[in-house]
Symmetry: C2
Amino acid sequence: MDGARERITTNIRKGVLEYCVLALLSRRDMYGLELADWLAVRGLTASEGSLYPLLARMRQAGTVQTRWVAPEQGHARRYYAITDQGRAHLRVFATVWREIQPHVDELMGEEG
Amino acid sequence: MDGARERITTNIRKGVLEYCVLALLSRRDMYGLELADWLAVRGLTASEGSLYPLLARMRQAGTVQTRWVAPEQGHARRYYAITDQGRAHLRVFATVWREIQPHVDELMGEEG
DNA sequence: CCACATGTCTTGCATAGCAAGGTATCTTGC
DNA sequence: GCAAGATACCTTGCTATGCAAGACATGTGG
């Protein structure tokens, strides 16, 4: 067996990871590892190695903004919040997703 | 407005195009432009510039095989057919898709 | 004070869509 | 015949992005 399954999963994630992050942040602010864990459990990302560079890009693009929070116990954390621009991008993604996903679903529906 | 929508669409396609092709070929053999038209109409690809290199890779990977067909009228066409290996990859994709797609759907369901 | 967990981030690589451009062959109209 | 356009195939070069691996810093517990 080659790494076919990993390659497949990786490529699907390329299209959706950024907008899953935006959707999560539209519910509530979260910090890096918290996002990483939530996403990893659901198979939406593999490690922080993809998430932190993505978050940095998003911050630069202006779809998220951040603040440091120092809890009374434990490590200082950088919390991420979605911006208005981020919400706009998320709406565009949701539209595109609803256009493409049914076609893929239909094609895969005949499988298995 | 930047090219946000195009970037989003392009990245979703990166994950699914190859397996939409396999799913189509599991129905019947098709030739290059025929595949390109079918996929373009449904927003699954933008031009032959992505399809032909993909088909070449797939041929090399052994998930499809090809034969030339010269019709009585018109151009000679290279027809693509799915192989057993292609069918196996398609099944793996369908499984992964069914794992990931519901999570994305749920996250996007709250959008607009 | 040493080991481990928790947090953030970087480096370098491999992959794949696509715009643009190229070539050849077949049909149609004059 | 011959020019123009449709049909069919393919290539080059660019860019974007997930990720393995690793680095670093700080807090916690024995």
